[in-house]
Symmetry: C2
Subunit: 202 residues, 2 copies
């Protein structure tokens, strides 16, 4: 088997390290880039080089922000409703919730999820700053919006234990059938949750 030219092998190896990109996709991408306009390669490599130096973390909610800016867009926005903090795992979750337009409060990004298997303990997450925010009286309700996964549920449970003594209202996003979904294809757990969480028709 002939060895691929080293520059291409390097690129394939780097691409393979990205999540969701296997050896086949990596080589397809690399060969695409080989024929792509120079401008795209510059755009990509520039964006990669700048990424870490030009971004930072919001000192209040730990969402991403532009470097040098202390507070993120949401924390510094006076039009956002105070009193409710929505706790999510990742900045991407903030984006997903913002896209719905259904929440106008504040956020808190944990920057991960509890996972004993991967060695992620409460101290590795931004849990202590959250407790301090709640203790300072910033919020009356905490919406736990971690993922509906095993780790997300465990993290929500842990947060509930920590926040309960502070006398704040603690809620969790509803479970049930996804909109547009098909009852026939829903898994057992989702269906059980949808049954348990059934509501009066109005």
């Amino acid at each position: 088997m002939p060895i691929l030219p080293l520059p291409i092998q390097n690129l394939i190896e780097a691409l393979e390290r990205l999540p969701g990109i296997g050896p086949k996709s990596a080589s397809r991408l690399a060969f695409f880039l080989l024929r792509a306009p120079d401008e795209l390669l510059h755009q990509l490599s520039g964006a990669l080089t700048d990424l870490k130096t030009t971004t930072g973390s919001c000192s209040l909610c730990y969402n991403i922000t532009v470097a040098g800016q202390d507070l993120c867009e949401i924390c510094s926005n006076p039009k956002r409703a105070d009193g409710t903090i929505c706790v999510v795992e990742e900045p991407l979750d903030v984006l997903a919730l913002e896209r719905t337009g259904g929440f106008n409060g504040r956020y808190h990004v944990l920057q991960g999820v509890l996972s004993p298997i991967e060695g992620v303990s409460p101290d590795d997450l931004k849990i202590r700053p959250l407790i301090e925010r709640v203790r300072s009286g910033e919020a009356k309700e905490i919406i736990l919006a971690t993922n509906p996964s095993m780790e997300g549920d465990a993290t929500a449970l842990y947060l509930r234990q920590q926040l309960l003594p502070l006398g704040v209202r603690i809620t969790r996003l509803a479970r049930g059938l996804p909109v547009g979904g098909d009852l026939e294809y829903a898994d057992q757990n989702t269906l059980l949750r949808a049954l348990a969480g059934r509501q009066e028709m109005q």
Copy 2:
């Protein structure tokens, strides 16, 4: 909806331009890179910057090669059998065939496929150099290994017309059921080809 910090937006936009990467994958990748070790970002951006300056095209078969090297690994290998040229669309196809270990001849990379819809005409492909190679008496057999798609078939047909007057043997890769495949799930065309191409059991 809050605007994402510009550096991340730039990266997402650049990633979205890659094939097979939609807006969702692009933002997932961008946020992964945000937390990835610096070393991975450097590896990626370095590989991208070097890609075009450090690679070239083989002057004989148009496979990729290291910049400054006239012939590719295969063309410059005296152990490869002369007399058979396998014509493929892309360098990736060379890689796929080499992995099988079933071909020990030479290659010719067309660098594309005829496509009237996308405006790719014979002059845009490396067809003329192929005809010259055949005319020089380099090969007795030309294996047309373009993809079994409409464009690939049309390209093979065109090449056959061009090469036939040169008195060379012209073959095409066999069509039929993929190994490990399931007759039940094979599409009609594949099954028809498998029937038409049936062979004596030995």
